[in-house]
């Protein structure tokens, strides 16, 4: 816990100073999680503010301060999911499969050929973002929380309020889907690479 239980209880009782302290303690972590969940840096603050806005209006529903963190994660997951759904509606035409260029760039980055660290990071970011767009918003969030954020199955169980086995099955299927897209794109890139080298 990044704050004392007492502070959460004060915030629950309507103490705005305590609420500010809770937000200040968690905002960086929440901003990071949202940045990796939604993949749009320009909208990260908006979504984070929505999370804390929901927190402000539902804090009185929190029964025990012990479950505060999973509960805050649940609010984060819900706000990110709402954002991704709206985004999908706005941008239905977005490609779900990877462009050859992205895979080639990622391969180059893995081989240390990227021009700079910033370029390499951008390539990794674009590649993972494209891979995750091949699954549903729910699976994208679940997979990111597990694989990127490193949350344990026990923590996910508390956030989603479902049993571990159901989560395992869902995670396995989502990962398989992403892996298939990754392998297919790699094969395609390999073939086009061979063709290019033959032409040269």
């Amino acid at each position: 816990m990044l704050v004392e239980f007492e502070q959460i209880q004060k915030a629950q009782a309507g103490d705005d100073v305590a609420f500010n302290q809770v937000v200040a303690a968690y905002r960086k972590r929440i901003l990071g999680t949202i940045a990796r969940l939604i993949g749009r840096p320009e909208d990260v603050e908006d979504v984070a503010q929505e999370v804390f806005l929901r927190l402000y209006y539902s804090l009185d529903q929190l029964r025990t301060p012990e479950v505060f963190e999973p509960w805050l994660y649940r609010l984060t997951v819900n706000a990110s999911y709402d954002y991704l759904r709206k985004q999908r509606r706005r941008n239905e035409a977005r490609m779900s499969d990877l462009s050859e260029q992205q895979v080639m760039m990622a391969d180059a980055s893995a081989g240390g050929k990227a021009s700079s660290e910033a370029d390499r990071q951008k390539q990794v970011k674009d590649l993972v973002d494209s891979l995750l767009s091949s699954v549903s918003e729910q699976d994208r969030i679940l997979l990111t929380l597990k694989e990127v954020e490193g949350l344990s199955l026990k923590e996910l169980e508390k956030i989603y309020s479902v049993n571990e086995n159901a989560l395992k099955v869902r995670l396995f299927r989502a990962r398989q889907r992403v892996l298939n897209v990754y392998e297919t794109s790699k094969k395609r890139t390999g073939k086009s690479g061979q063709n290019k080298s033959q032409l040269e």
């Binding site: 503010q49 990071q121 954020e149």
Partner: protein, 110 residues
């Protein structure tokens, strides 16, 4: 796990490093409080609207009740319960049904 699986795991780890936790802007907290207050205003407005709606509904109910009152009052003014009963059951009918003796009824008529 196969080679692609390992690569994917590695890619996810690289992704976390590529997207570090961003620092909140200086405007983060003021903007958050502005949003909280604007939502509060919406809630207050909705509460007021609900109150107006409930008050209007109550006024309409009272008005309808008041409009129906004179009609029921006029029936009450027509007489006592026994008078109303006698009016609705004329003596001919009662005599025909054998509730009162027929002779008494005829004598009364004369």
């Amino acid at each position: 796990m196969n080679r692609s699986g390992d690569q994917l795991t590695q890619l996810f780890a690289q992704f976390k490093a590529a997207v570090p936790d961003p620092d909140p802007s200086a405007n983060f907290m003021p903007e958050l409080w502005r949003k909280i207050e604007s939502r509060q205003n919406v809630l207050i407005r909705m509460k007021k609207l609900t109150q107006v709606f409930v008050a209007t509904a109550a006024a309409i109910c009272i008005l309808l009740a008041a409009m129906s009152l004179p009609r029921s009052a006029s029936t009450e003014l027509r007489g006592s319960y026994v008078d109303v009963l006698a009016e609705s059951h004329p003596a001919e009918n009662l005599a025909a049904m054998g509730i009162i003796p027929h002779e008494g009824f005829e004598a009364n008529r004369k």
